[in-house]
Structure formats: C-alpha cells, structure tokens
Amino acid sequence: MPVALKIFITAVLINNIILMRFIGLCPYIGMSTDVKQSIGMGFAVTFVMVLASTATWTLYNLVLYPLGLEFLQILVFILIIASLVQLVEFYLKKAAPALYMSMGIYLPLITTNCAILAVTFDNITYGHSFFESIVYSVGVALGFMLAMIILAGLRTRVRTSAIPAFLRGNPILFVLSSLVAVSFMGFAGLIK
C-alpha cells in the first residue's frame, strides 16, 4: 500500500483525532447539535487545517530549522494560525460572500481549536514530507467531520429516547462517544 494512502486511512479511521486521541473535543461537544452544522464546521476545519499545515511546514523547514530556532515552534505556529485565519476571514468576506456566510461563523472558533495546532505539530514530529503533511491534514479533518456527523446523528435520536436520569444532559454524550470509540477500535486491524 502506498505510504500516502496509509497515512490517510490511519488519520481518518485508526487514529481518529477525536475518538482515539481526544483532540478537538470542545467543538465536537459544542457544535454537534445538528448534522448540517457539523458538516459546515467540518468543511471549515478541513480548509484551515490544510492551509495551516502548508504554511507551518514551509516555515519550519525553510526558516526555523535552518536557523536553529526549533524551540520557537509553539510560539510561531500559534501566531501563524491565528493570523492566517484572520486573513482568510477578511479575504472570504470580500471575495466570496456566499462562502463566507456558510463557513465564516466557524472561522474565529477554529483559531484556538487544538486539532489544528496538533496537526501542525504532528507533521513535524512524524517527519512528514510536504505532500504527506497535506494528505495527513485532509485525513485528520475528514476524521474530525466523520466523528462530528456521527455524534450529531446520535444526538437527534437521543432527544426522543428515555435516558436514565443520572445521564441526562452532557454525560450521555460522553457515553455515546465511548460506544462510538469502541466501534472505531475495530479499524485498528485495517493496516498492518
């Protein structure tokens, strides 16, 4: 199996960023009230994640690493992501108002989304090439969207079912996530 495909499948299913690694839980719990909203959030995350990976990979390998400034990684990456999201927001507002209307409201939330920052760190830690880091970020983002859509779907069912009193409200969401995570563990054998 080609390496890129392996990275992709691992990122979407086996090491699903939410269900297996617990990164990006805040939007997962907060934004998954209906399926439509989850899809919107998912696309916005995909977009920003790919952009952020591209920018941080380039900067790390062309500037920070040659100059021996790796210790600035955390500081530089978070600033790049924050300013990038801001720029994208300005650009979309002006150039593509329709797209902005559907995606724009999610953009400010994404700046402090740990999933984005985690992916950029992963790219450096795993030593991905430029192409691999893009494949990886698309995979992680799709995994994020998949988990959100699943939870949103389950939430609509839960609303009309009889839940034990002590699990009503937020606790049931984590019980549901636990069950979905069990089923995702079955994917572990997908790649040897």
Partner: protein, 211 residues
C-alpha cells in the same frame, strides 16, 4: 466569606473548569491513563496558568485593549515552551508519554478564559489565587480520573500493584473509550453533587431542561 477565599473556591468547585464548565477537555481525557501522567499534566498546567495570570495581572494596565489577545497568546506560549523544554530535559519518559498534549496547553481554553475574564481585570494576589484554584480544580479531576482508570485498567496506582495478583485488568479503562465513559460518570457525579448542595429554595427547574 472573604473575597480571596471565594475566588479560590470558585475554580476548585463552583466553576470547576473540567466538570462544570467543560472546557479544556482534550488533555484531561487523553493523559489520564496513568496516575503519573495525570499528576505531570496537572503540574504543567498549574504552572502555566499561575505564571500567565501573574504576569498578565501585573502588566494589565500596560497592555492595550485592542491587541490584548495576541499578547496573552504570546505570554501563554512562552510559559508553555518553558514547561515543554523542562519536561523534555528532566522527565523524558513523562514527556514522551504525553506527547503533543504539553504543547497543546497553549490553546487550552481554561487558561485563555481565565486570563481574559479574570487576570486582565483583577490585582495580582487575587489573580494568583484564582489561578491556583483553577489549577487545583483541574488537578483533582485529573488525578481522580487517572486513579479510577489505572486501578481498573491495570490494577496499579503510580505503578505499584494495589489489587491482588489474581485481579484480571479491565483493559477497556486505559483505552480511549474507557476515558469517555469514566468522564461521563465523573460529570454525572458532579452534577448530582451540585444539585444536591446548591439546590435553590425556589425550586428552579433544571437549566438543562432534562434533554
């Protein structure tokens, strides 16, 4: 109650960041597979929040309103980098076990939230108390969760065998799904305690509406 005591207790119980407000969850669920990890993460987090709140509160009159968020981020990122490098140098095993979650302290909503809502407005002593309260509030939930998970999933606490040798470890609890389940029970317990202790005399309906 004196105001300083109230400020301290706020984070510890009443507005516990993890169990009540439910922010900063990622690291809490991911690192609680063993008690050592839970304690390490809590110490790192408490250090960053105390240091950041101290600095920001001390300089709150000098930080211009319009660029405060980027300044906060830089201060938090600087302390996070320190913790990350110290951990890598002195506790390489712990640092490896927690992986990406130490750098991720920088985007932990608890710190940003407290800095924005509290430290940027209050004097230094209160800011430090608030940070300690929040840090300890984070710590007890993390340590509590990791004790449950390590005990049931491994039969040990801090690597020391506690349950009898014949105990068959329930691997489920150290795997990711176990983290979700233990956390669900934790917040359920916390909601129950809060309802019991803070029941309003007027009998207000449950704000969640029992959804």
């Amino acid at each position: 109650m004196k105001r300083s005591t109230a400020v301290f207790l706020q984070g510890l119980i009443i507005e516990n960041p993890l169990a009540i407000i439910m922010i900063g969850l990622c690291s809490a669920l991911a690192v609680t597979t063993s008690v050592a990890n839970g304690i390490g993460m809590s110490l790192a987090m408490t250090f960053v929040i105390v240091a950041s709140e101290f600095i920001i509160s001390a300089f709150r009159k000098l930080i211009p309103e319009s660029v405060r968020i980027p300044i906060f981020i830089i201060i938090i990122a600087a302390f996070t980098t320190m913790v990350d490098l110290v951990m890598k140098a002195y506790f390489p095993d712990l640092s490896k076990a927690m992986g990406v979650f130490i750098p991720l302290i920088v985007v932990n909503c608890i710190i940003m939230g407290r800095v924005e809502a509290f430290a940027s407005k209050e004097p230094v002593p209160h800011a430090i108390l608030d940070a300690l309260g929040m840090g300890l509030g984070y710590t007890w939930v993390l340590v509590g969760m990791s004790v449950v998970r390590e005990l049931l999933g491994n039969g040990t606490i801090l690597g020391i065998q506690v349950l009898p040798e014949t105990y068959q470890p329930i691997l489920f609890f150290v795997l990711p799904p176990g983290g979700f389940l233990v956390f669900a029970l934790f917040i359920s317990l916390n909601l129950f305690l809060k309802k019991k202790w803070l029941e309003s005399p007027l009998g207000c309906p449950d704000p969640e509406g029992g959804k």
